[in-house]
C-alpha cells in the first residue's frame, strides 16, 4: 500500500489548467522525484498535497484512506512537511524562535533547543539554535527549514528545488541527509528540473509536462538525455559557441570598488576588481546574498558611487552617472526581477520599450513619437518571437519567459557595447532558456562585453569564457572555462580562500 496516492487531481486557474488528471503513488521510505519544466505544474501539485491550495477534482489517499487536506496545518497533522524553494523564515529572531513559531504544539525554548541539537546531530544538519537568522548562510537556512519539518516527525517531506541555492559540496551533504531519512522510513517528494540529481538519488520519478503526467520511471535505469526528452517532449536544444575574438574597444572595468550595504541585511562590497573585454562572456558565480545584488546595482547605475573611476565603461569613468547616463555610453542591463524593475507593470510593451529607448531618437520637442515607438516595439516582438497581443499588450499579461524575451530583445536592440545580465534564464522553460543563452553568446561574439550573474553554475559553465566567484562581497580571481573545476568553484562559493569570512558558515 502506498503512503500517498493521488487519483485524478485537476486544478484550473483562470488562464491555464495547472494540473490535469494527475495520478501519483509515493511508496513509504522512497525518494520520489517530480520532474518537469517551469510551468509544468509541479508547484501547484505540491501546494495541493500540502494543503496550500485545493484541487478542483480528484482524491488524495493517505495510507490508503481518502483524506481532505484543507490547510498546511492539516497536512502537518497528517505527517506531511514541506520546504519551499523560497524560505519562510524571519531574519531578526533566532533559529529556535523561528522553529517555535511554526510548531503547532507549545514548547519552551530550552527543551526545543535541545531537540534541535538532537536532530541536528543525528542527520548532520549543523545549526546553532540561538543564532540570529540573518547571520546564517543560505545552506544553513535550508537546514533550519528542514529541521523545522523533521521536528514534527513527518512521514513525507516535500522539497521544492532544494539544490537551486546550494554550493556543489552542500548539495552532496544534503543528499546524504535525504538518503538517511528515506532509510528510516520517511518518504521524500523531490521536486526538481535537474536531471543528474534525480538520477543520482531518486528511487522513482514522475515526469510532468503541460500539467499532465507523461510517465513514471525508474531513474537509475535511464539517462539524462532520455529524461530531458520526456520532460520537454523534443530533443533538448543546444547552444553554439564560436571562438573568442577580443575586441579591445569595448570594456567594462571595475577597479577596487568598495561600498557599504544599503541596509542591515545587505552585503558590503569589498575591494572588487574585474575586467570584461569585448568579445567574451564573464560569469559571476556564488551563493545568492554574497553581494551580487549590490554589485549589480552599482554597475547598472541604480546605485551611484562617489569615486568616478571605480567603474569604467569603454575607458570612461561612470561611477557617478545614473542608469540613463551610463546607457548613453553603451551600457545595457537586464535585472533579475522582470516585472517591476526590468519592465514596469501596468504599462504596455510600447511604454516599456520607451523606458530604455527614449534617448534613441524617440522624442520630438519633449513629446514621445508613439507611432515610431510602436513600430520599433513590433520589431523587437517579431525579432525575438515574443508571444503577445502586439505592442499595446500590458507587460504583466506576458508569461515570464516571453517577458524576458522582450526585455532581452529590447536591451540587445540598443546595440550595447557592454551588457550586464542577472539570472538570465530564471524560471524559463528549456527552449526559452537556450534561446536567451544563445542570444548572449551571439552578442559577445559580435564584439560586446557581456557580464552574467547567475546562481546556476551549469549555466555559467555552458556560456561563459571566464568565471569569477563572489563571496562575502569579495571577488575571486577569474578562472577560464577550460580550467574550470566544479569542485574548486564550489569551495570558493563556500568561502574558501577569501580573506574576509562572513559570520555565516559554509556547509
Amino acid at each position: 500500500m502506498s503512503l500517498l496516492e493521488l487519483r485524478g487531481i485537476t486544478k484550473r486557474y483562470p488562464a491555464v489548467v495547472a494540473n490535469d488528471d494527475i495520478h501519483l503513488n509515493v511508496e513509504a521510505g522512497t525518494i520520489h522525484a517530480i520532474l518537469g519544466e517551469n510551468g509544468a505544474g509541479k508547484s501547484t501539485l505540491m501546494k495541493i498535497i500540502y494543503g496550500a491550495t485545493t484541487a478542483d477534482e480528484g482524491q488524495i489517499y493517505w495510507h490508503g484512506n481518502p483524506v481532505r487536506i484543507s490547510s498546511p496545518s492539516a497536512a502537518r497533522q497528517l505527517g506531511i512537511g514541506m520546504v519551499y524553494q523560497h524560505f519562510s523564515l524571519f531574519e531578526s529572531i533566532t533559529v529556535a524562535e523561528n522553529i517555535a513559531i511554526a510548531l503547532d504544539r507549545k514548547l519552551d525554548l530550552e527543551s526545543l533547543s535541545a531537540e534541535i541539537n538532537l536532530i541536528s546531530e543525528k542527520y548532520n544538519l549543523l545549526v546553532e539554535p540561538d543564532r540570529l537568522l540573518y547571520h546564517l548562510s543560505v545552506g544553513e537556512r535550508q537546514r533550519v527549514e528542514i529541521i523545522r519539518c523533521l521536528i514534527q516527525n513527518p512521514k513525507l517531506l516535500i522539497l521544492d528545488e532544494p539544490t537551486s541555492v546550494l554550493t556543489p559540496q552542500a548539495i552532496q551533504g544534503l543528499f546524504v541527509t535525504l538518503k538517511q531519512l528515506a532509510s528510516e522510513g520517511c518518504s521524500i517528494l523531490y521536486i526538481s528540473h535537474k536531471l543528474e540529481e534525480v538520477i543520482q538519488i531518486c528511487d522513482s520519478a514522475t515526469v510532468l509536462r503541460g500539467g499532465k503526467v507523461v510517465d513514471t520511471i525508474l531513474p537509475s535505469a535511464t539517462t539524462t538525455g532520455e529524461l530531458a526528452h520526456l520532460m520537454i517532449g523534443t530533443q533538448p536544444p543546444t547552444t553554439q559557441r564560436q571562438h573568442v575574438k577580443i575586441n579591445s574597444s569595448s570594456t567594462l572595468e571595475v577597479c577596487q570598488l568598495s561600498a557599504a550595504a544599503e541596509d542591515h541585511f545587505g552585503s558590503d562590497i569589498r575591494d572588487v576588481s574585474l575586467t570584461v573585454r569585448g568579445g567574451e562572456i564573464v560569469g559571476i558565480a556564488g551563493v545568492s546574498g554574497n553581494g551580487q545584488a549590490e554589485l549589480f546595482k552599482l554597475l547598472s547605475g541604480e546605485k551611484i558611487h562617489s569615486e568616478p573611476d571605480t567603474i569604467r565603461i569603454n575607458n570612461v569613468g561612470v561611477s557617478r552617472l545614473n542608469a540613463n547616463g551610463r546607457r548613453h555610453l553603451g551600457l545595457a542591463c537586464i535585472p533579475e526581477e522582470r516585472l517591476g524593475r526590468g519592465a514596469a507593470a501596468g504599462f504596455s510593451l510600447r511604454d516599456n520599450f520607451c523606458l530604455t529607448h527614449h534617448g534613441r531618437n524617440l522624442l520630438r520637442y519633449g513629446f514621445i513619437k508613439y507611432k515610431e515607438a510602436d513600430r520599433r516595439t513590433s520589431q523587437v516582438i517579431d525579432r525575438f518571437s515574443v508571444l503577445c497581443d502586439g505592442p499595446h499588450a500590458a507587460a504583466e499579461s506576458l508569461s515570464g519567459g516571453n517577458l524576458q524575451r522582450f526585455i532581452v530583445g529590447r536591451e540587445i536592440e540598443l546595440n550595447p557595447t557592454v551588457l550586464i545580465v542577472s539570472q538570465p534564464t530564471w524560471g524559463l522553460d528549456v527552449a526559452a532558456a537556450a534561446f536567451i543563452r544563445q542570444t548572449l553568446i551571439d552578442l559577445s561574439r559580435a564584439g560586446s562585453a557581456v557580464l552574467v550573474f547567475s546562481e546556476e553554475l551549469e549555466e555559467l559553465l555552458e556560456i561563459c569564457d571566464q568565471i569569477v566567484v563572489m563571496y562575502g562581497g569579495q571577488m575571486s580571481q577569474p578562472v577560464s572555462r577550460s580550467d574550470a573545476d566544479i569542485e574548486q568553484i564550489g569551495l570558493l562559493m563556500a568561502g574558501e580562500g577569501f580573506s574576509f569570512q562572513t559570520t555565516a558558515q559554509g556547509y
Partner: protein, 354 residues
C-alpha cells in the same frame, strides 16, 4: 466553509471601464433617493433640486461653472502629482498664497491702470503657489520628510498669514474695521463672460490648463517619466529617471495650479482679499482628481459634477430646508460608489468554498 475573495480580472473590459462612472452615478441616485425617502423628503423632487434645477437657467449654469473652475484647475495640477505618487494635500494653502501674492500686487498698484495688471497677477499667483509648494518639495528631496504632513500643516500657516494680513497691515482703512482689504481696481479683475453673471474670463485659463495637462499626461516624455516614477519606482530607477525630478515637478505643477485658482477667486467673484478665499476648494479638488481617475478629461467632468451637486445642495438647503451635512453625505456616496465601481472593473468578487 465559504468565504468571499477578490480575484483579479485577466482582461478588464474597456466598455465596462468607460461605463463604470455612469453606473456609479445611477447607484448613487438610487441610494441617495433611499436616504432622502427615509428622512422624509420626496426623492424625485429632491433629486430634481440637486441635478436638474441648477441647470435650468443661464444663471444656474454660470454658478455651476463658477464653482467648477477652481475645482478643475486645482485638480488638474494635483492629478499630475498624484500620478507620480506625490501626495500634495496642501492645495488649500497654495491657493491662499497665490491669492495673497496676486492681491498684494493689485493693492500696491491701486487705482493706476497699466493695462497689464491682471497679467502680472496671474504670474504672481502661480509663482506664489509654486513657492509655497516648493517648501515641502525641498524638505522631501533633502530630508525625506512626508509631503502629506508638510503640505497639510502649511495650509494652516497660509490661512493664518492671510488672516494676519487682512486683520492687520492690509486692512482697508475705509472698511469700517471689517477684516478685508480694499476692493481691487477693475483693471485688476477678470471681467464676467456675460454681463450680469458671475463666471469670469478665468474660465479660459481653466480650459487652457486642461489642454496643457492632457498634453503632458498623454503625450509628453515628462508625463511618462512621472507616471513610471509613480507606478513603478524601481523600473524608474532602473531606467535612470531621477525621482527627485518627479517630486519637484509634481509639487510645483500642483502648487502653480492652486495658486492660479486662488488668484482667480480673488480677482473674480471676491474682488478683494477676505479671511477665507475658498470654501475648501483645495480639499474638494482631491476628490475631483480621483473622481476623474487622475486623467485630465475625467477631472473636467468630475469638477463639473461635484460643482453641480454642491450647487444642488445649496438649493436643497434653501428650498427644502435640508441640512448642509446631507448634501455632503450625498457627495460622499458618489465618491464611494465611483471608486467601488472602478475597483470592480479590475477585480471580481468570488464566493469560495473550501
Amino acid at each position: 466553509m465559504r468565504r468571499l475573495t477578490l480575484e483579479q480580472r485577466l482582461h478588464p473590459s474597456v466598455a465596462i471601464r468607460a461605463l463604470s462612472p455612469i453606473a456609479a452615478t445611477l447607484i448613487t441616485i438610487l441610494a441617495g433617493s433611499a436616504m432622502f425617502y427615509f428622512l422624509g423628503y420626496e426623492p424625485l423632487g429632491t433629486l430634481r433640486v440637486f441635478f436638474i434645477d441648477p441647470l435650468t437657467s443661464v444663471y444656474g449654469i454660470s454658478e455651476v461653472l463658477l464653482k467648477a473652475c477652481p475645482l478643475v484647475l486645482i485638480a488638474l495640477g494635483l492629478a499630475i502629482g498624484f500620478r507620480a505618487n506625490v501626495w500634495n494635500i496642501g492645495a488649500e494653502g497654495q491657493l491662499t498664497i497665490g491669492a495673497i501674492c496676486a492681491g498684494g500686487i493689485a493693492l500696491a498698484i491701486g487705482e493706476k491702470d497699466f493695462g497689464f495688471t491682471l497679467f502680472i497677477m496671474v504670474i504672481l499667483g502661480a509663482l506664489g503657489g509654486m513657492a509655497w509648494a516648493s517648501i515641502p518639495a525641498f524638505l522631501k528631496v533633502r530630508f525625506n520628510t512626508n509631503e502629506i504632513l508638510v503640505t497639510l500643516m502649511l495650509n494652516y500657516v497660509a490661512l493664518l498669514l492671510l488672516s494676519y494680513l487682512v486683520h492687520g497691515p492690509w486692512r482697508d482703512p475705509f472698511g469700517f474695521n471689517f477684516p478685508q482689504t480694499a476692493l481691487f481696481h477693475s483693471s485688476a479683475m477678470f471681467s464676467p463672460v456675460l454681463p450680469g453673471f458671475r463666471v469670469t474670463g478665468s474660465i479660459f485659463i481653466v480650459i487652457g490648463a486642461a489642454i496643457i495637462a492632457w498634453t503632458i499626461v498623454t503625450r509628453s516624455f515628462l508625463g511618462f517619466q512621472m507616471a513610471i516614477a509613480g507606478k513603478a519606482p524601481r523600473a524608474g530607477l532602473f531606467a535612470g529617471y531621477r525621482d527627485n525630478k518627479a517630486i519637484w515637478l509634481g509639487l510645483l505643477i500642483g502648487g502653480g495650479a492652486a495658486g492660479l485658482a486662488g488668484m482667480a477667486e480673488a480677482a473674480g467673484p471676491l474682488g478683494q482679499l477676505l479671511p477665507t478665499i475658498s470654501p475648501g476648494y483645495g480639499y474638494t479638488a482631491i476628490i475631483v482628481a480621483f473622481l476623474g481617475r487622475l486623467h485630465p478629461i475625467g477631472v473636467v467632468f468630475g469638477g463639473l459634477l461635484v460643482s453641480l451637486i454642491a450647487n444642488g445642495g445649496e438649493s436643497a438647503q434653501m428650498y427644502l430646508g435640508m441640512h448642509s451635512s446631507l448634501s455632503q453625505i450625498f457627495q460622499g456616496m458618489l465618491l464611494f460608489f465611483v471608486l467601488a465601481a472602478d475597483f470592480l472593473v479590475f477585480y471580481k468578487l468570488k464566493l469560495v468554498t473550501r
